[in-house]
């Protein structure tokens, strides 16, 4: 049995670390495609990147139902760490969750299975936190939309490979939709539902 002492620690300074992490995520969301760094470090259970762990400690609590992908939910390290540090309920029904944590992008379920909000309350939708291999090298994507001055270029190595094709549901559904936060170690890139991929190279 894991005791509390064996769990990886949370933030050293809960208040200021959460603030700094939030500002990185807010800047990422406000400037889609830009790579933001998460500075404060906390312990992170195996399977979870340190950026993901910091976001969890910053945004999750008893008000935010979570959905974990198979690799995360099978790890008792992850579930115990989340339960102890955030208190967020982990649920099976992905259509009602505030956040979904994805460690294996290849096994990302269909996006329609998450909460997409309603026309009256489009904010009641899932924010997908997707761990990816790299946010500085790989295929290049050109992004347009609010928050972007002209075109933003993102170089990233992302699974699933067809993530941006799948995100085209945001175009049809808007203002409903799904917002994605990509995490690679301590780097964060957000792709809110307003962002459109205009072209991509190899």
């Amino acid at each position: 049995m894991t005791t509390i002492a064996e769990l990886p620690p949370g933030f050293v300074d809960k208040v200021l670390s959460a603030q700094s992490t939030f500002r990185s995520v807010m800047d990422a969301m406000a400037r889609p495609g830009s790579v933001q760094r998460i500075v404060p470090t906390s312990g992170a259970p195996h399977v979870m990147m340190r950026g993901t762990a910091a976001i969890a400690l910053t945004l999750f609590d008893h008000d935010t139902p979570l959905w974990l992908d198979a690799r995360m939910s099978e790890s008792t390290d992850v579930t115990k760490w989340l339960k102890f540090h955030t208190g967020a309920p982990v649920v099976q029904d992905s259509s009602i969750v505030s956040f979904a944590l994805i460690s294996e992008g290849g096994a990302l379920p269909s996006l329609e299975r998450f909460a997409l909000g309603t026309s009256e309350y489009p904010d009641r939708s899932t924010t997908l936190i997707l761990q990816v291999e790299s946010l500085h090298s790989g295929r290049s994507f050109e992004l347009r939309g609010p928050g972007i001055d002209g075109v933003a270029t993102l170089k990233a190595s992302i699974k699933p490979f067809d993530l941006f094709e799948r995100l085209r549901i945001n175009e049809a559904l808007f203002p409903r939709g799904i917002d994605v936060v990509l995490v690679a170690d301590d780097a964060v890139v957000a792709v809110p539902r307003t962002t459109r991929v205009v072209s991509k190279g190899s």
Partner: protein, 298 residues
């Protein structure tokens, strides 16, 4: 006891998380009003409780805070909010627009262009632009869902029918990212063009009405109008009496009970900056000097 009795930036961490989640959704859906569980703040509604909560949720120790009330850094509301955060968060404060990283504002956008490292936080009294046309929240929500904004155009049309021009001078409705009609808070419509394609992030907090909304940087913000009655920003046709600025928004100040009045920049930082740079208006006072002792013969 030396330990502070409040958390950093006053709000408790659970409240900040709730507000932060609302801010992220507000940014993701530009112009859409996200409901949030507004808290009671140690100031009355109408004094900027929404803006204060948004500022408290984003503020960090490295930030430099500027607070303006109708463009002025020196009015009661601005000073008390600035002192509130200086005390509860220990942040540096400034009156210089370009030095600030977070600017909380009541009903003005600074004249100096904002840059990408800034966040502008608006205090909003009534966030719903359709509220005076349709009092029911269920209905206005449905109207936003369907992008059913004909009623707003009827209102602007009625202005034209009655006055010959669009008489709405403040809280002039805008359409954000070609989707949501949004109340820019009671800023003069002079400021509306500054919201369009602005490099800074703009966040709006309404404390009593419990709503947060946002305009991401570089987002299209269009003031509603008609082809034959295009949107026109309004400004008193006069230079600033202190700094002679021809392009700033002016306050009208009554100077006596005989109809005397002067027009001065509403943005005090902008006006002071121009005066320091050597611009002088018709009523700018000469630098104050102690009066020489009255000499007997002049």
């Amino acid at each position: 006891m030396n330990a502070p009795a409040y958390n950093f930036a006053y709000l408790d961490e659970q409240t900040k998380r709730m507000i932060r989640r609302a801010i992220l959704k507000a940014i993701a859906i530009p112009g859409y009003q996200v409901p949030f569980a507004s808290r009671e703040m140690p100031m009355p509604y109408g004094w900027g409780t929404g803006g204060v909560q948004v500022t408290a949720a984003i503020l960090g120790p490295q930030d430099v805070l500027k607070v303006i009330d109708q463009g002025s850094d020196d009015t009661t509301n601005a000073i008390s909010i600035r002192k509130f955060f200086a005390k509860t968060a220990g942040v540096a404060t400034t009156t210089a627009t370009e030095d600030a990283t977070v600017i909380q504002t009541r009903h003005r956008i600074p004249e100096t262009s904002l840059h990408a490292n800034q966040v502008l936080v608006y205090q909003v009294p009534i966030p719903e632009p359709l509220r005076f046309l349709e009092p029911r929240e269920t209905e206005t929500r449905r109207m936003h869902a369907l992008a059913e904004y004909g009623l707003m155009h009827v209102k602007l049309y009625e202005d034209i029918a009655r006055f010959g021009h669009i008489a709405t001078a403040y809280a002039y409705p805008v359409k954000v990212n070609a989707r949501y009609v949004m109340d820019p808070s009671p800023t003069p419509k002079f400021d509306n063009p500054k919201m369009d394609n602005c490099p800074a992030l703009q966040l709006f907090g309404a404390g009593r009405e419990k709503r947060i909304y946002a305009i991401p940087p570089y987002t299209q913000v269009v003031s509603l109008d008609f082809e034959d009655h295009p949107f026109e920003p309004y400004r008193f046709n006069a230079p600033c009496a202190l700094c002679a600025a021809e392009n700033s928004y002016l306050d009208e100040i009554v100077t006596d009970d005989k109809g005397g009045r002067m027009f001065v920049c509403s943005d005090t930082d902008y006006c002071e900056g121009r005066q320091a740079a050597g611009h002088h208006g018709s009523l700018s006072a000469a630098p104050y000097k102690e009066k020489a002792q009255e000499a007997p013969n002049g």
